[in-house]
């Protein structure tokens, strides 16, 4: 694992429209390194100059191993790290099905179809503050690149990393090696704080007097909890969402998230791929019921 962040990584201005501004490139990216952590978790390093040079923290790539149409779609992966000099980027993945299995078992030198970098990135903190990075499970991935860029810009981010059990915290050693100030939590108490990572976050916030800003990526309920905490305490929070995604280019409209900006009367669906995946937490209309049939009636275009 490199842990090297390209010097060319920059923050981005908010994207004013749903249309992707820069030109992502689509090419066959060769796998150059694999670091397996147990059976399920893998860090894959691919060669792709455009992604290595142009990625911003929070952006993602769409990957597909091989040309099979048996599972037609690509899969989205957050960019975990980039190395502009080696022209490589890395992703962190968990094997959950046949497509991720095939990706995880590419041989070194084999290629995956790779489109990127895509999406709206995390935005730089508005004012000097302590950035708290909250990652749940494999949602930790984009926070590594974010953390590295924040440190380069003289911030001192603190990373909160939670999972159901110790095995879910597969990147804890990497984070330690990179020297991040780290708070770990497991629901079963097998490592660190016993309970939800958001409970550990609350405990920290109760005793923290510095102005803080929150950056989170993880499962929906965790992001909703971060949003509630941020709203209650008046903290700025950016969250990276991970819905089912079809194309990554804003055409299938499959990955929409109900959102409402401050100047909007009613919620509207926005594509996670082009208008996200990073949203202000206050703009997302959170729902615990992911398939609420009433949602369509509550939302206008």
């Amino acid at each position: 694992m490199t842990g090297v962040v390209g010097r060319l990584v920059e923050w981005t201005a908010p994207c004013p429209t749903a249309i992707i501004q820069s030109m992502p490139s689509d090419l066959d990216a060769a796998l150059v390194e694999r670091h397996s952590i147990g059976d399920a978790f893998h860090v894959l390093v691919f060669e792709h100059g455009d992604v290595a040079r142009n990625s911003r923290p929070g952006q993602f790539v769409m990957l597909k191993p091989g040309r099979s149409t048996a599972l037609p779609l690509r899969r989205p992966f957050s960019i975990m790290d980039v190395d502009a000099e080696r022209e490589t980027f890395s992703v962190f993945m968990k094997v959950v099905g046949a497509q991720t299995q095939a990706l995880a078992h590419l041989r070194i030198g084999q290629t995956a179809r790779c489109l990127g970098p895509l999406g709206r990135s995390f935005q730089s903190p508005q004012s000097p503050s302590l950035p708290l990075l909250i990652g749940g499970g494999f949602g930790i991935a984009p926070l590594l690149l974010l953390g590295a860029v924040l440190r380069r810009d003289a911030y001192e981010p603190r990373v909160f990393y939670g999972g159901r059990t110790i095995a879910d915290l597969a990147l804890r050693r990497t984070l330690e090696d990179l020297g991040f100030s780290l708070v770990l939590a497991t629901e079963d108490g097998s490592l660190g704080f016993k309970g939800l990572i958001t409970a550990a976050l609350e405990e920290h916030l109760d005793s923290c007097t510095l102005p803080t800003s929150l950056f989170a990526c993880g499962p929906g309920p965790m992001l909703a909890a971060v949003a509630r905490i941020a709203a209650r305490r008046g903290l700025p929070a950016q969250v990276s969402v991970d819905p089912w995604m079809g194309c990554g280019m804003g055409t299938c409209l499959g990955c929409v998230v109900p959102t409402r900006k401050a100047n909007e009367e009613r919620p509207r669906y926005r594509c996670a791929c082009t208008e996200g995946p990073v949203f202000e937490s206050s703009e997302v209309v959170w729902t615990d019921d992911r398939a609420s049939p009433s949602r369509a009636r509550e939302t206008t275009p």
């Binding site: 249309i19 037609p72 089912w244 804003g250 109900p258 206008t300």
Partner: protein, 306 residues
Amino acid sequence: MTLAVTIAGLRLKNPLIAASGTFGYGIELENFVDLGILGGIVTKGLFLKPRAGCPPPRIVETPSGLLNAIGLQGVGVASFVHEILPRLARFDTAILVNVCGDTVDEYAAVTRVLEDAPGVAGIELNISCPNVKQGGMAFGVDPLLTHAVVKEVRKATRRPVIVKLSPNVTDITVIARAAEDAGADALSCINTLLGLAIDVETRRPRLGFGTGGLSGPAIRPIAVRMTWQVAQATRIPVIGIGGICCAADALEFLIAGASAVQIGTANFVDPNVYQSILRDIERYLQRQGVARLTEIVGSLRYPRQQ
């Protein structure tokens, strides 16, 4: 060698058209794709007013396919004409607008708005979307309703009217002939098949809308069969649609009787798939010693029935 085809008086530089709902309004992909290499683009479906679409989750991958319930989220026809069409019309490709409606009147009204818009080559009538509660597929599964809506839209435009057929019927040729009788210039064959995927843990549908429309290679043999049936049952051109990913897939539809094809789900994986398909179709024609693509249309050598 020429790949040019003419459908309903509309000359396309090649038979490859991007299918509605899989290519946005075209301009979303201008950074990814040389839009000028496409024979045509069918836009995302448009109603009179903007539509929110279905609640998420909206898509789920299934074996060799994609089940979706997007629900025709869209900007509405006025916004399309004023904000999107001027940008899209700059590209050298035929712009076909997919027209939707909750009622016959709405279909006709959307068509009339487009009638004055420069840059529209034709309209595709969407009477086959399975993911809306009113309109959509309700028209496309009933020959009388199909006839009624096509007749009204026919009156509202001088432009070519292509009717997109639903496969969710017992005999697609009945609907195809109803559309033809009402004045359709061509038929798109087929829209998605109605499907249902269930999350066994929660025992809920995996899509927010419940059911969805199945697309992708999984439906291709059904689509080729229906294209073949419709091409034989009608005298107007047929545009084949269903899981086309490569040149051989496209050629199946053409040989079955389609005059052109639409590419749908494959756009989500690789919107640049057109280049390689065109190249491979040219190679096929060379190999077969055929100078014009139109010579292979409907050239199926089907075994004689005993």
